[in-house]
Symmetry: none
Subunit: 200 residues, 4 copies
DNA sequence: CATGAATGAGAGTTCATTCAT
DNA sequence: GATGAATGAACTCTCATTCAT
């Protein structure tokens, strides 16, 4: 039998994954506190009691969702996909990809935000984010990019890569938020304008 | 007898306000779906049934909270408080004030975000945000500021006020989000850096 | 100071009476178990807590209503009003009056039925109906009427006044019930037809 | 495996039926407004929350009870059971059976009355009674019986079958009411006396 | 007399969880 | 593995009642 890179995909694994996906969507719609196991199970076509076979408790399901969101979510993988071209071009591609993802699949941002939101009160979540510090690695990626761009003369010399990277991250987080608190200008326009500032 | 601008503050008014405040905090902590009337009432020292004396239904309470959040929240009044000084100075003060508010009282941002988040599914919320379009007025304030700054030669000539204003708004929304998904650089640092970009 | 036959009618007495009337209507609409003191008070334009000044408890109010219904209700007084004319004419008038009352003011029948309905479970009600045996006195009135009619040759000779009176009472009770479980024929038609049977 | 006319009686069906029965009794005792789901569930030996497994809402339970009462109740089936013998004999049997049912199982009449009582305010009930017009079919049965009796010379010639049928129906409704507002004469006596009038 | 404010018991309903099958 | 059935805690809301003013 064929094996994928994800290891042995049993029927049970598929079901588990489907449930996580369904919970993912539910959290995006109704928030973490609005999550209902019945709804999740129904979405997969299962009885709600059967869900407990795969996840003994609701918390276990949430943890699985969190794990999935943080390790498979959009923010993690994006940096790896933009390794070619000039620094400016790579930054541009990176920002646009991120923005496109957010707009087309707000779910990702919503769930991540929802999880992060309860971090102060939930040690388990805090620990999870520490185990997968995607914000840090994202930042590192941007710092490197900005650094290279400065050296290549593409970005203004007085740019502080550390702070610049943080600015772009904050701005992108803002783009996620602006899904619901919309600003007048379009995302692409803003990104282009920001990039011009970057050049000097 | 002395009267404040808020008119005669009866016992009932105070109680109502206290309940709104408590609900405000509750929503900030547990989200809109995690709001519990019992908890709100207990916070004010009331039996949960007494809450229904002031707000006939939970939805009525939420509406009052939404009204309060949108009309009294931090984002609305900030522009009015920064009318003096040079455009650059006023912008600086405005951004810093906003940032300080967010850091010291994350509640405001959280509740506003929570309300905005359910806007797609809740017509009542949509109508509320239309009635008080603080994002629009906030944007208008920034556009004017940038425009004046350009004319005064304080900001770079190639700046598009419309887009620039949107960028700053998005960035500030990101600052709110970064309360839970922290970026390495400090908010003040980032703001100063952005302002430098603005100058050219 | 003027005195009515009802004794000193103070402001309090009027209020009490108004509350009883309102409760009367409420019971007719929603049944005894559906009675709400708030609704009664509101009907009279009083705060619901003020009602407790006039009736310390809900049961006290119900008792007052029961007292009123049984002692002032339509069934009690009707016999006294039909003392003139031939037996057949008096019977006719009596039945028609009763029927008209029921149709125009179903409230009376409804409340009486509602009270009687809970007699098996409520000793207080049982005692009340024993104190005012309007059914018995109503029966006595009819027996007398039938007896006179037989002697006068207006009614068939083989009529048993006791049983005949009971039949008419039962039939009239049925007319009350048919307010909600309607029979095809009109009440007047049926009454006339019954009277013909009575004649022979 | 042998099947009854009621089809496969699953555990769930039995439970549902038991709950309907319990609600039936509860309505008879406390009225429609006095119905308590907790009491119904307890009667069947269930937790009150389990009731919602079988009936999603209280209204759904009431509707099931209404359906049962109207379609299975005593008044519906009685006519079918009296098809043999002379018209007079059949009428006699019919009336006596009805009366006996009412006395031995007042529940039926009480629930039916209770449902009919709220018909003016509840469109759903009105629709139900229109769907099963047992009063009409009952009337039709009686009209036919009286008609046959007249032709057979058993009943007086001047009898109007339509009106006569209505009279008997009204009288029987009155018998139901007299369960709580008793008349002196016995039901059998009255029925016999009425029949004598019928003969002429 | 009358009201505003508060309460606690109890109502219907939801929901995560358990268990026998 | 999967389901039907059951539970109990918790939730929103209602209602009669009380008490200070």
């Amino acid at each position: 039998m064929a094996r994928t890179a994800h290891g042995p995909t049993t029927h049970a694994d598929e079901r588990r994954h489907a449930l996580i996906q369904a919970a993912y969507q539910s959290i995006a719609r109704h928030g973490l506190e609005g999550l209902r196991t019945r709804e999740v199970a129904a979405q997969v076509g299962l009885d709600h009691s059967t869900l407990h076979y795969y996840f003994p408790t609701k918390v276990a399901l949430i943890e699985a969702v969190a794990e999935y969101a943080v390790f498979q979510g959009l923010l993690v993988n994006v940096p790896r996909d933009h390794q070619e071209g000039s620094p400016a071009a790579r930054l541009h591609e990176f920002l646009l990809t991120l923005q496109r993802n957010m707009r087309e699949e707000p779910t990702h941002f919503l769930v991540l935000y929802e999880l992060a939101r309860y971090t102060p009160q939930e040690p388990a979540l805090r620990e999870l984010f520490q185990r997968q510090p995607f914000m840090t690695s994202w930042h590192r990626f941007l710092v490197l990019l900005l650094h290279e761009g400065i050296e290549a003369g593409e970005f203004r010399a007085d740019l502080d890569p550390e702070i610049g990277a943080s600015i772009f991250m904050t701005f992108m987080l803002g783009l996620g938020t602006s899904l619901f608190m919309p600003v007048p200008a379009g995302a692409e326009q803003m990104i282009e304008h920001l990039e011009r500032w970057l050049r000097g």
